[in-house]
Symmetry: C2
Subunit: 280 residues, 2 copies
């Protein structure tokens, strides 16, 4: 089977790497960033590269879109138009609802699979890709009942080979959960980073005073701005709801501190600490 990876960065590159030992698969890359594309070829993420979309799609049996959500929404209908009946296209975007809506109106909807790998690092680009990124990670398949069963099973086999375990939910449900659990984490991390950088102009001071705690809390602020600005807008409604809920929580703690309510503060922190029972 020929797999075309569109977007040879952290996610696309790691998917290809994870499957490269399978002799029944060939991998090719396509990327608007020519430098990244050549790099991906050079470091062996893909066997060959295409500089032109039509021939790339024609070559492929399965196409994986590992690019920002906005780009997926633009490219997906174009690719669906070109597909022959045996081909399928998967997207690895971090929001799912608007992407699924885009696909829903297309006559080849059943050749499309909406998937979200719950995996990543704060790094990006072909160099960041590694073989084990998806091992024991969750791949969420959204609105999976709208995909042709044979194609879905073909892809599920690939995903399991790459190390994923699979869960299924609706695209709407996905975006609602992820707004709180993932998107809000990124927002609070970027905001913390900007707050500290605006206050502390001297990087040396930050480095000297930053324990591993600060480092861990701002780690996500190292993520790709292009990717995340796109995610925040794609999941705008839910993300804004998340921000409002977060501000309310923050103001609750702020008031307790203002009023010196030590016991109530401790209780508030105890509630938050319950997370350790979940994440271990």
């Amino acid at each position: 089977m020929n797999i075309l990876i569109v977007g040879v960065g952290l996610i696309g590159g790691s998917f290809s790497l994870a499957l490269k030992d399978r002799s029944d698969l060939s991998f090719a890359g396509f990327d608007l960033d020519q430098e990244a594309l050549l790099k991906a070829k050079k470091i062996g993420l893909v066997d060959e590269v295409f500089s032109e979309m039509n021939s790339a799609v024609k070559w492929a049996d399965g196409i994986v879109l590992a690019i920002p959500v906005k780009a997926i929404k633009e490219l997906l209908p174009v690719i669906l138009d070109k597909l022959e009946s045996h081909q399928f296209v998967v997207d690895f975007g971090s929001t799912k609802n608007t992407i699924c809506e885009t696909a829903d109106s297309h006559e080849k909807r059943d050749q499309f699979i909406a998937a979200h790998p719950i995996a990543g690092t704060e790094h990006s680009g072909p160099d960041a890709a590694f073989k084990e990124l998806f091992v024991d990670k969750n791949l969420i398949l959204c609105d999976a009942e709208k995909t042709d069963l044979h194609k879905l099973m073909l892809f599920e086999d690939l995903a399991k080979s790459a190390g994923f375990y699979l869960t299924k939910m609706s695209a709407k449900e996905h975006d609602r959960h992820l707004a709180y659990i993932s998107h809000l984490s990124h927002i609070t991390s970027y905001v913390l980073s900007n707050t500290v950088l605006n206050k502390e102009k001297d990087g040396e001071v930050i480095l000297d005073l930053a324990g591993s705690g600060f480092e861990s809390t701002v780690r996500l602020a190292k993520s790709s701005p292009r990717m995340w600005s796109s995610i925040f807008l794609e999941n705008k409604e839910m993300v804004l709801k998340g921000i409002v809920a977060y501000k309310k929580e923050l103001e609750q703690l702020e008031t307790l501190i203002e009023n010196n309510e030590e016991d109530a503060i401790e209780e508030y922190l105890e509630e938050g600490r319950v997370i350790r029972k979940i994440l271990k």
Copy 2:
């Protein structure tokens, strides 16, 4: 030299462990939590334990207070009262200004050293202590010019043996910097945890959808509520300023998202991403 560790938890226990190979030092423990105290003796954090403060202080040459800030402020004057001229007392509290104010009015001020180890984990208690916690970590000495030089040098030697490198600043400066770099990290982490826990009642869903990103961002919410409620109140003024600055930043991003300003969002995230140049 006899070192008394008051508070045999993560910090006090690790300090003792880090120095236990030095044959010129003996370590004893004191803790209001009798269970922790016995544990500390059992797992070898200290050689002996005291159940009564007077005899413990009399035994010691140097006393290390590794307990919450509020407890330090209560205990410090009591201990200073008891000290003979050759003895010294160090505090490892996470805020420094109110502690130093407490000491400043005492006639034995020059037998006191205010120190803050920029090291820790989200775990607490004797079991959490480990030998290497302070290796290559920063120990901030505050208002060090107020301590007798000979005693300061004695302690600096211990601190370096434990693995620390030393920096010095005023207690006020310390609290101002830490409010942003450390205390605010803990606040945003606890608040994020509470926001998500209030929204997602099902721990299984959180676990399935939480990538390493969420885990890293809420890690600090696993920290000790008793210790952190005390820190927030001790550094109240600066912490509240930090929260106000943070809310302003958050609302700036919120407005950009509301208005679909994708380029400006990306720019905002790029600014936050500068942190990767500092923390590497």
